[in-house]
């Protein structure tokens, strides 16, 4: 009988407690600083061009071979506005193949690529697999809009 009453008291106490549910699509929980979303390219706001020089380091290091980069001469360097003589031409990154291993970030000599630590690095549902192949414009958009800070290793 005491157990019966104790059970009722238990459920009553949980009833007045705050629910633990987070209504996910409308309410986003904060993500940790070192959250590992899909990789993104960073935009050099001082010069107005990507940090990436198209050096192929990430392409060679990528274990799933989901990155392909081309390099071209930097037109801004000819005008002496930029110190980068070479700059990225095309940059294709297949989010469908990427395993988020962070090796591309480790090998990048110019800190031009980073892991997306915002919710936009996760909410990537698409109807077509081809839509998951990101081009240079899409990879740079978030950094260009100053919506991501590059994460600094501790």
């Amino acid at each position: 009988m005491l157990g019966v009453l104790r059970g009722l008291a238990g459920t009553l106490s949980t009833m007045v407690r705050k629910p633990v549910t987070i209504q996910y699509p409308t309410v986003h929980r904060g993500l940790p600083e070192r959250e590992r979303g899909f990789p993104l390219l960073l935009w050099d706001h001082e010069v107005g061009e990507p940090f990436c020089t198209g050096c192929h380091a990430c392409e060679r290091a990528c274990p799933t071979e989901c990155i392909s980069v081309t390099m071209r001469d930097n037109p801004l360097a000819a005008e002496e506005k930029s110190k980068r003589r070479k700059i990225v031409g095309h940059y294709l990154l297949d989010y469908g193949r990427c395993v988020r291993c962070r090796i591309c970030v480790e090998v990048c000599n110019f800190s031009a690529i980073t892991m997306n630590n915002t919710w936009r690095g996760h909410e990537l549902s698409r109807y077509d697999r081809a839509d998951l192949v990101m081009d240079l414009e899409k990879l740079l958009a978030q950094s260009k809009a100053r919506q991501i800070e590059p994460w600094v290793a501790p």
């Binding site: 009988m1 005491l2 157990g3 019966v4 059970g7 009722l8 238990g10 459920t11 009553l12 949980t14 009833m15 407690r17 705050k18 629910p19 633990v20 549910t21 209504q23």
Partner: protein, 371 residues
């Protein structure tokens, strides 16, 4: 104007609009109860319950209704066609008919029957017929097992239920629900009959086949009661509509005969809307208690279920009748009713405690070394 009055005085018209009001009330109550139950149980489990459809998920029952109406109406190929299609109505119609005898306010009910309590008890036991027919008709051994269990359970628990209500009607000296409410006066019968109320509430929870007495619908053993093979609107009638209507009717009865109905504590001079508010508040509190119990208790075994009914509730109900008879015959004062009934309830509590108590040291499973 007098022509309109004559029109409404016609027996058939009168019966029709009263039934219509009760039918609409019942549908609304069922919709609200499905929502409230999900919300309450959600909160008890520290969830939110339905939140998406409308503000705070308030349109969820409407969405459920549309979904259930649009679902395919499946019937197993080997099912007994007549029995299968008839069963939902055999279960639902008695559950609704019960509401006919209930006086919602002092002067308003579909019909005030002089043997209202008897009618209530007789008709509220009938849905079990629908369950048996459903279990038999769907040609499924689990459905039949569920039907057998629910038949055994409902018939067993009907006995202490009737005896507890009978003990109460001894005090009221009437089977007319209006008389019983008016006889309670300043002190509702729950004060004089705590044991009777305990038995009544237990039997109500059992009649609704809710936890801890939901062996008939035990999902983990029987897949899901006599309504396994039903889908769509038939399932909805057989299960949801019947269960929530029965719940509403039984708690209404409880608030009428045990909690003072529309009379206590405000008196009956305040007008019908106050009476309605009173009776629905009492009913709602009983319903919330039942939901609370549903969310709390684990299911009992079948033998425990039967033992609890026949070995504890039935003797206690008989004791209650005996005590009431003794006190009424010798004309002892009212407080002896409370004393004896309370003492018997304490004895019941001790018996349950002693039965459930773990004797000796609590068994623990030894960890393997290194684990």
């Amino acid at each position: 104007m007098s022509q309109l009055g004559d029109f409404f005085d016609n027996v058939w018209v009168d019966a029709f609009w009263r039934l219509l009001v009760v039918l609409v009330l019942m549908v609304v109550v069922v919709l609200v109860l499905t929502y409230v139950e999900r919300k309450v149980i959600g909160r008890i489990q520290m969830r939110l319950g339905p939140m998406r459809t409308g503000p705070y998920g308030i349109l969820q029952p409407i969405a459920d209704m549309i979904k259930v109406l649009l679902k395919e109406d499946l019937r197993p190929a080997t099912a007994d066609r007549v029995a299968f299609e008839l069963a939902p109505f055999l279960a639902f119609v008695p559950a609704f008919l019960v509401l006919v005898a209930i006086p919602f306010t002092e002067g308003w009910g579909v019909r005030v029957l002089s043997l209202g309590l008897l009618y209530f008890i007789a008709v509220s036991g009938l849905p079990v017929l629908g369950y048996i027919v459903a279990g038999w008709g769907s040609d499924n051994k689990y459905a039949l097992l569920g039907a057998m269990r629910s038949a055994a359970q409902l018939i067993s628990y009907e006995v202490p239920f009737v005896l507890a209500v009978l003990a109460l009607s001894m005090l009221a000296g009437s089977l007319n629900l209006v008389d019983i409410v008016e006889r309670q006066g300043r002190v509702p019968f729950i004060v004089w009959q705590p044991l009777g109320f305990f038995i009544f509430l237990t039997c109500v929870i059992s009649d609704l086949t809710r936890r801890p007495f939901d062996t008939a619908a035990a999902e983990s053993e029987l897949v899901g009661g006599p309504w396994i093979e039903f889908s769509g609107i038939r399932w909805s009638i057989l299960y949801a509509l019947t269960e929530y209507t029965s719940m509403f009717a039984l708690t209404l009865l409880g608030s009428l005969i045990f909690l003072g109905g529309w009379d206590w504590p405000l008196g009956r001079d305040l007008g019908w809307w106050w009476q309605l508010i009173l009776i629905f508040t009492k009913t709602a509190s009983l319903i919330l208690f039942i939901m609370w119990a549903t969310a709390t208790f684990p299911r009992v075994r079948v033998d425990q279920l039967m033992a609890f009914c026949w070995k504890l509730l039935l003797p206690l109900a008989l004791v209650q009748i005996f005590l009431n008879g003794l006190i009424l015959v010798y004309g002892w004062p009212d407080w002896t009713l409370l004393l004896t009934s309370g003492l018997a309830l304490a004895v019941a509590g001790y018996v349950i405690y002693a039965t459930l108590r773990v004797r000796g040291p609590v068994r623990t499973i030894a960890l393997r070394s290194g684990a």
